[in-house]
Amino acid sequence: MTNSVVEAPPAQVPDELTPGRSRWHGLRPFLPLVALVVAAIVPYSTVNLPGFFEGPLNSPGTLQLLAICLVFGGLAAGYDLLFGRTGMLSFGHALYFAAGVYGTDVLVTRAGLPLWQAALLAVTGGTILAALLGAVALRTVGIAFAMVTLAFAQVGAIVVARDFKLGSGEGLTGGEEGLPLDVSGLPAALVGVTNTVNLYWLALAYLTLVVFVVHRVSGSPTGRVLAGLRDDERRIGVLGLDPYRFKLVAFTLAGGLATAGGVVYCLIVGGASPHVTSSELTLSLLVMVVLGGPGTRWGPVLGGILYMYLDHRLTAFGSSDAVDNLPAFLSHPLSQPLFVLGTVFVLAVYFFPGGLTSLRSRLTPLLTALRRR
């Protein structure tokens, strides 16, 4: 009974482990590459997508939004390594993301390190933190594991909120007000609105890295073991593999990827705020993964991008004239971004149980039926 909450997420056979059989089989390996190239040249386009973005694609506002979306796409893909592919429900993933955000920020702003050193230290530190805490938390399973990771993350949140003092009386983390990033030591290419495009490319690089790593790992022998762990941990043990070790590897790897995401996010937003330590962030990662389709290659990425897009754009939607002109009983709720987001999410879970990526398999019979006519 204890375990059932974390029973393997809606079974998805990892793409990597099943042979492709579509007509596009020959082309498919190149599709991600095409997508990457398209994403990389977006900033050269002045196309205006009214309603979707406030300005042309290459305007700093749009690029900033896209950069945030891409980071969260990567973050969700990393989280899926835990949740969708190994069946571990962690409620504390925000901690490692926050370690990246605050680690970079504190090291740059308070310790005055150059960015590359700060980033390297932060990622190393975050990975080690994940390894240590994972080593402890993985002594439990199921919902207990979820709660222990939540507890660790909560301690992280409390530490950030407490704003421990340095000798000089300056708080380390800035408490609830957060800590703006001191950009004076940063490469000029990462500072200023006109350079938002570089942040965008950075985010794209991060996303590519995560997708590549996750894809590679889940197609590897280790990934096969992780998929087995999702179904039956006891069996893995009897086959002669130590479940604990493999789970720890997945946990550490996911933690490290999240920390790297934190570093990038810190640069994009230009600071850290306690928002990133909250358990809501982990929950929203879960939401992203499920929205997209757990255990699939592109589902979590799409879920993450879509979620963040909605999260940001709905604030504009809520205050738009279209909404304001509605009768009060509609316009009031609709002007609450969280209301719309929550509703969209409920509907998504309800109508696309396998996530966005299941749309394809759901639509295929329909399309073939149409084609036959």
Binding site: P43, Y44, S45, T46, E54, G55, P56, N58, S59, P60, G61, T62, L63, Q64, L65, I68, I158, A161, R162, D163, G169, G171, G174, G175, E176, E177, G178, L179, P180, L181, D182, V183, S184, V191, G192, V193, T194, N195, T196, V197, V269, G270, G271, S273, P274, H275, H312, T315, A316, G318, S319, S335, Q336, P337, L338
Partner: protein, 375 residues
């Protein structure tokens, strides 16, 4: 197009001036944000004499919601700057103000922070100004309640975190510096039950208790302080929050000495009358003055500086003007906004409470110490 294009501000004499307002339309601080924008519009009307124009250039407002989230605020600010806004104003939450300020400096645009009370905005950088009060000014007002501080025992009761830290530090400096012994009782902002803290305060037997508490748990906190007899045994000072919160003080309300940034009736200036006439409902509240002053500053900046941000900064530094609260001064050294503050008493019961000013302090009396400009 090139990836590093940004729209230019337009040097054309009659082109509208783009002003971006990034504040909380939703989220926990939505009601503060609402007052701010009402105040801003009234202020703009007042400062442009109803035309909405400076010279023959129209002030074109673009509003964006940050929902209290710095990341959203930064995105919105970048978007606005990218589209040619040379002026960003707003920031309901301190965390937001602190993260938007560097963006302004990096891109050399004017930033006028709103209700965010953190002291750190003052002197943050050359391009950052504030249109509201700061924590330090609250504390100086609190000090005025004990007269001669020498030998007095003062306790600060504040929540954990930067807001509490700032208040505690300010009290130590202001009241402690005047000869009082200051100690503090801190509680997590998420605390549910306040009895342990009330007991600690009571055991300390202070002459003055300064409470710095924000958030929805405040009513429970006051009730506990009242029930445990803290309010009856000492002078308790705290900041007066927005009108809607007054009834939540309940019976405790009349036992507290309030320092106030603003409440309806605290001043009777020209600007206050104009604002009252303009805002929906006709009753001024805590953050209307912040929006109002921000609009006045925007108009000043545009009329003196045109499209040149450095000229705008010059025009604002040292500027004295009359706003809702009375005479205000933008201190040139660190952009602190010197302004009157008030002592107030609350009376009434049920859902109808009224505040009455006991005393008002001038901008000089409540001036924070000058800080070093950081960037």
């Amino acid at each position: 197009g090139s990836p590093q294009d940004t729209a230019s501000g337009g040097g054309d004499g009659a082109a509208p001036v783009k002003v971006g307002l990034v504040y909380s339309q939703s989220g926990p601080l939505a009601s503060y944000g609402k007052q701010y924008i009402e105040g801003f519009k009234a202020g703009l009307d007042y400062a442009t004499k109803g035309t909405g124009k400076v010279g023959d250039r129209k002030i074109e407002l673009t509003e964006a919601d940050d929902a209290g989230d710095p990341a959203k605020a930064v995105s919105a600010a970048k978007d606005l700057i990218g589209k040619g806004s040379k002026i960003i104003a707003g920031s309901t939450a301190s965390g937001v103000a602190l993260q938007v300020a560097p963006i302004a400096a990096q891109n050399k645009v004017l930033f006028i922070s709103g209700p965010a009370a953190t002291d750190a905005v003052t002197g943050a950088n050359k391009y950052t100004f504030r249109s509201g009060r700061q924590s330090y000014q609250d504390v100086v007002t609190a000090k005025s309640f004990i007269g001669d501080a020498t030998g007095k025992k003062v306790v600060v009761f504040a929540q954990d975190g930067a807001f509490g830290d700032a208040n505690e530090a300010a009290v130590k400096k202001v009241i402690g510096g005047a000869g009082a012994t200051v100690s503090s009782v801190r509680a997590p902002a998420s605390a549910t039950d306040f009895t342990p803290f009330a007991s600690q305060i009571k055991a300390a037997k202070p002459d003055l208790l300064f409470v710095a508490w924000a958030g929805t748990t405040a009513p429970a906190m006051w009730q506990t302080l009242d029930q445990q007899g803290v309010l009856a045994s000492t002078t308790v000072v705290t900041g007066l929050d927005i009108r809607a919160s007054w009834p939540t003080f309940g019976a405790a309300g009349s036992k507290i000495s309030f320092l106030s940034h603003y409440f309806d009736g605290a001043s009777d200036t020209e600007a206050a009358k104009a604002a009252k006439a303009k805002i929906p409902g006709g009753t001024l509240d805590l953050f209307h003055p912040d929006g109002f002053a921000a609009a006045q500053m925007v108009v000043r900046a545009v009329s003196e500086g045109g499209d040149d941000v450095d000229k705008m900064v010059k025009a604002l530094e040292g500027w004295q003007f009359d706003s809702i609260k009375g005479p205000m001064t933008i201190r040139a050294e660190d952009h602190a906004l010197l302004q009157p503050m008030y002592q107030a008493k609350l009376s009434g019961s049920g859902t109808t409470f009224t505040a009455a000013a006991q005393k008002s302090l001038t901008g000089d009396e409540t001036a924070p110490p000058v800080t070093q400009m950081k960037g």
